[in-house]
Assembly symmetry: C2
Homo-oligomer: 338 residues x 2
Amino acid sequence: MPEAKTATANAVPAAQAKQSAQQRKPVITVIGGGSGRFTLLEGLKLLPVQINAIVTMTDSGGSSGRLRTELGVLPPGDVRQCLVALSNSPKLMLDLFNYRFENGSSLSGHNFGNLFLTALEKTTGSFEKAIDEAGRMLDIAGNVIPVTLDKSELCAELADGSIIKGEANIDVPKGKRSKIKRVFLLPDAKATQKALDAIASSDLIVIGPGDLYTSIIPNLLVAGTGKAICASKAKKVFVLPIATKHGETDGFAAKDFVLEIEKYAGCKMDVVVANSTAFSVGMKEKYATEGAAQVLASPGEFSGYAFVGADLLSGSGKLARHDANKIAAVVLNLVGSK
Amino acid sequence: MPEAKTATANAVPAAQAKQSAQQRKPVITVIGGGSGRFTLLEGLKLLPVQINAIVTMTDSGGSSGRLRTELGVLPPGDVRQCLVALSNSPKLMLDLFNYRFENGSSLSGHNFGNLFLTALEKTTGSFEKAIDEAGRMLDIAGNVIPVTLDKSELCAELADGSIIKGEANIDVPKGKRSKIKRVFLLPDAKATQKALDAIASSDLIVIGPGDLYTSIIPNLLVAGTGKAICASKAKKVFVLPIATKHGETDGFAAKDFVLEIEKYAGCKMDVVVANSTAFSVGMKEKYATEGAAQVLASPGEFSGYAFVGADLLSGSGKLARHDANKIAAVVLNLVGSK
């Protein structure tokens, strides 16, 4: 019975193909920084998606900065945050990884997770291997990928022509200073193949949340990333920050953030996501004392983009923060939409 | 058929009892220190025995000493060595645990494993929990048990009446000094229940190898351990060191070591184990330049003891070290013997 045989032979691959399509989770690549990215990754971890977290290597402050300078390693702090955000390990392991040695010791201010990654980089001889090993030990859901393995400093040219060298010096302004005109890397840095592959294979590339010039754009300054983002078939999503940041984005309107990202990426975003819940008077005043203001966006400003305005704020806390479940749900919803 | 039923009912427990006896591995508790203990534990790990490693808490030198002083934790160095010796983890994990941060950094000389145990003690709030967690992560065969959780300094009274405070100061003599008359703890320390239970449940208690006054006797100074050793049904084995140690046991004959141990323990040893292979002329000269001499023992000196003289030296290396398999085989052999 050749017909029957043919039917059976066809049936199996068809079933396999269907199963394979069902099994393939949408791939989401996150390019951001700080607490906003941490929250987004924590939220996405619980959803049926494949996560890539791309991490800038220009952090020069605190424990990471000291390890860079003293031991010549790549800065581990941002990698550690992503590993913890994506980890399925028990709380004890995460407490350990986040533990910061107390003042008064020679270890003062060093974060255990940073020392862990540093010692792993030293013993494996490779920062990427160190991340892989740490990810395995922490049982992470997803991939944490350094955008580059080249050692490079983030620099900013201000409107008055002066140059600030080092991410930490740009991040925390020392007194009043002129507006940032542009940021650049010194020396140039080249993207890792893993970062380029992650971007190319994504269904969704989520840029933000994070500090514009010190967390997000340093990724776009690495040679190859902008081109890969623009060439990717992925939907390109920009998540607006909740508030401006003093010394970086003072006076920025919602559209200014998007235009700046597009300038450095080299192409247009497809979707803009914004928090739509206004600050209370108290919160507004609190942020004003820090030289910051809420970023509010209306759909009208974003014709030519898909615009998603939603309540993204966490109900608790003294700072306005993204809520993990709310922001992850918005992002997941974008995977299937046109 | 009541008889048949009775027979069956009896048969099961009998079989179980036999199986249980077969499954019960002999319990060996090791009280020692340094490279000798490390080697013995490495050797025993491969054998069908249950291992307890009891660890002194008076180490005050190097990385451990700094962590004690600066962060108020118990000294992690000896625990780390035992964990690594008993670990079944891949080499990478052990390399990581043993990794020592290089000079020129604020972390200089700190051992990653020590920082790991310190951060775990800080996050779990308990040194014993930290050891349990680290043991689980390193997949250790056996138990590593601190002899006390009390913070105490090892002190030595010399023959000239002067007092030396701190294990590191006793361990490494600063210039010529008078003979050690006695060692003591300041303040007193109390044995952990785990240490007492381990000693009580042992089939064999192996004291040594290790430095007499700085590694072994500090365990016997802890209130409760000597009494527990003497009360235990376990066979008490003393492993003689390969050589004397300058500043601690200069001029000691084999019997002097045993008598000193018995004085601090409060009872007689059952077995004395000694290396029987004489040093080469080159090795003898090498040790002489460090103020040390080989410890050689003959059965005649040890009437009233079971005496085991055997070749225990490792064939390789520039220092005379115990060979893991040779010493472990001798110890295992003592489990079954009368």
